[in-house]
């Protein structure tokens, strides 16, 4: 399935999706005040006079928030506007103390950019696809309303009020829930690489306004709805699924889609009109007269650029090209900051332990990191002590394996012991006898015995039945109780059989 279409009674419908992602900028203090941003504090304990919009209070922008937004813009290869402005978006709501949100409409900090979502056949994304990003602007978060604490009152907590957000506005370039999901995941990955947002969707550090419309393929854009504050990839996909089908049904039943703001109901997986935002808004945007134009100089921009890390796409390409990893391994290892960080540490440690170059050992390290180690961890379950899973210990196991001192199976066994009980991998290998025999004498003896006992097979082999080589390997390993170094076994067998 290459194209996602909704089948209606009147034919197929295409879904058009744009996302406005609000990402909380990682900073110590708020965008315009010195109050802290930590999650989960006591109500109104991280609120300054500025955040509470007391009379006469004024905003002064936090450099780090601007810097992080610029770095994010650079990471999506966007145009950075060295001249930008803050505007006020005026509306009345209990979570908005000033009666306006300081945001950027007319001159955002970051202009046009893009990101690429990767082909994922299974998810219905046949090819890599570039998703346009219209802009990133910086704005204040609102406070929080609590509705269930009092029978007739809502409670207002302003801890979040004034926390810096980046609003990342995509082009309406997505055509399926899967593409939207991939977009959010990719964006999250980039933000976390850059360090500009922790990407924690449960805590609300990242949430999406999902704009959905439907149309017959090739027709004009339909009327869109905006479902606010959707806080997981799965929910984003559910919203699209639900909204697309709902809109098709509305239109096919002779109705028309209202351009409106909707809310997602997690329990039912449906969306509904947001009652509090019913009246048509006229936000009366205008430049915030408390703030002058924001002008960024060359040094500031240069520092932002210089401090950017290697980004997911570049890293993936390097893993494939330089380290020779498979596309699958490269993609898996670069998806998350933690994953690549763990891999790169282990790779460096292993290179040191083996004395080899990173590219020479990258593939076994990648396999270890992606499948062997997690497998051992999983099989141990509760018995594993994750603090024993140090890069050093794993590198030493990998080095032993690389030198042929232990087999793959022994590596797993040793790691299992390390994870469960701790301890030094080499000592464990010695004490538990988890070592391969590379002693040619012992192996030769075993092989000689096997050749003598299987003269008929030897003849068949020599007669051209190459496949029998595996039989001799198996017999040898069995005779050595699985502890022979397979490379040595192979070599000696070859010499003796072919010779």
């Amino acid at each position: 399935m290459s194209e996602y279409h909704i089948k209606g009674t009147t034919g197929e419908w295409e879904v058009v999706i744009g996302l406005e992602v609000h990402a909380q900028v990682t900073s110590n203090a708020k965008l315009f005040s010195g109050a802290a941003t930590a999650f989960g504090a006591e109500p109104n304990s991280q609120v300054s006079l500025v955040d509470a919009a007391m009379p006469g209070m004024l905003p002064v922008p936090n450099r780090e928030c601007i810097r992080q937004a610029v770095r994010t813009g650079m990471a999506i290869e966007a145009e950075i506007n060295a001249w930008s402005r803050f505007d006020r978006k005026n509306y009345f709501y209990a979570d908005l103390p000033q009666g306006y949100q300081i945001s950027q409409l007319y001159h955002p900090l970051v202009g046009e950019g893009s990101l690429t979502i990767e082909a994922d056949e299974k998810a219905g994304i046949p090819d890599d696809k570039i998703i346009g990003i219209e802009r990133i602007h910086v704005e204040q978060d609102a406070g929080k309303l609590m509705h269930d604490q009092h029978p007739t009152m809502s409670y207002v907590d302003l801890n979040r009020s004034g926390v810096a957000l980046m609003e990342i506005v995509s082009r309406p370039d997505m055509r399926s829930p899967a593409e939207a999901g991939a977009y959010v995941r990719k964006l999250r990955s980039i933000l976390r690489y850059v360090g500009s947002c922790d990407g924690n969707m449960e805590e609300g550090s990242m949430r999406a306004d999902v704009n959905v419309s439907v149309r017959k393929p090739g027709e004009e854009l339909g009327t869109r709805t905006e479902t606010k504050n959707v806080n997981s990839v799965r929910f984003v996909m559910q919203v699209i699924e639900y909204e697309a089908n709902r809109q098709v049904e509305v239109i096919e039943n002779g109705g028309s889609v209202d351009q409106e703001t909707r809310l997602f109901d997690v329990a039912s997986g449906t969306t509904r009109t947001m009652r509090s935002k019913e009246d048509a808004h006229d936000y009366r945007y205008f430049p915030d007269p408390d703030l002058l134009p924001l002008e960024l100089d060359e040094d500031f921009l240069a520092e932002c650029r210089a401090s950017l890390p290697e980004l997911p796409d570049a890293k993936r390409a390097r893993y494939e090209g330089e380290l020779g990893l498979t596309p699958y391994n490269a993609r898996e290892l670069t998806a998350e900051v933690e994953t690549f960080a763990r891999f790169e540490t282990l790779l460096a440690e292993t290179a040191q332990a083996t004395g080899k170059g990173e590219k020479d050992i990258a593939t076994p390290v990648a396999n270890w990191a992606l499948s062997v180690a997690p497998g051992v961890m999983k099989s141990l379950g509760e018995d594993a002590n994750p603090s024993n899973a140090t890069a050093k210990a794993q590198a030493r196991i990998l080095a032993m394996q690389d030198k042929g001192e232990i087999s793959g199976g022994q590596a797993k066994e040793i790691y299992e012991i390390v994870l469960r009980d701790g301890g030094d991998p080499e000592t464990i290998a010695d004490e538990k006898g988890l070592k391969q025999v590379s002693d040619t004498g012992a192996i030769e003896t075993a092989i000689d015995g096997i050749i003598a006992a299987n003269q008929d097979k030897v003849a068949e082999y020599r007669g051209g039945k190459d496949k029998l080589f595996g039989f001799f390997v198996g017999q040898t390993m069995k005779a050595m109780q699985g502890k022979a170094n397979p490379a040595v076994v192979n070599q000696i067998l070859k010499d003796k059989l072919d010779g």
Binding site: P43, V47, S48, L145, H150, Y155, V156, R275, L292
Partner: protein, 111 residues
């Protein structure tokens, strides 16, 4: 000034309905009597400011900073200046008409 021309075509005057709409946008409740009084007053002022349309502003950028000055940025430090620091819930709630359990109380909102 296209919009002014458009507005002039309608005599640049606001109707009662428009004033009612604006007062709703501004969240100022107005009685019928107040509306009746406000409409001609606003129109008089709007008629008067209409003369701005005479000015040729070709190539003029709207003013952004009255005195040449650029935006200063603050260091990312928590509570560096006491007056703009957090952690002063009592001060923040001191004047609230309804403060309960550390929150501001408002009439129940249905979202």
């Amino acid at each position: 000034m296209a919009a002014t021309r458009a507005a002039s075509a309608r005599g640049m005057s606001v109707t009662r309905e428009e004033v009612a709409k604006i007062s709703n946008l501004a969240r100022i409740r107005m009685t019928d009597g107040e509306l009746d009084r406000m409409v001609p007053e606003l129109n008089k002022i709007l008629d008067w400011v209409e003369q701005l349309g005479e000015v040729d502003v070709t190539g003029v950028e709207p003013m952004t900073a009255v005195i040449p000055n650029t935006l200063r940025l603050r260091a990312d430090e928590v509570d560096a200046i006491p007056e703009t620091a957090g952690g002063r819930r009592d001060d923040v709630l001191a004047n609230a008409p309804a403060a309960e359990h550390g929150f501001f109380g408002v009439p129940k909102v249905i979202e």
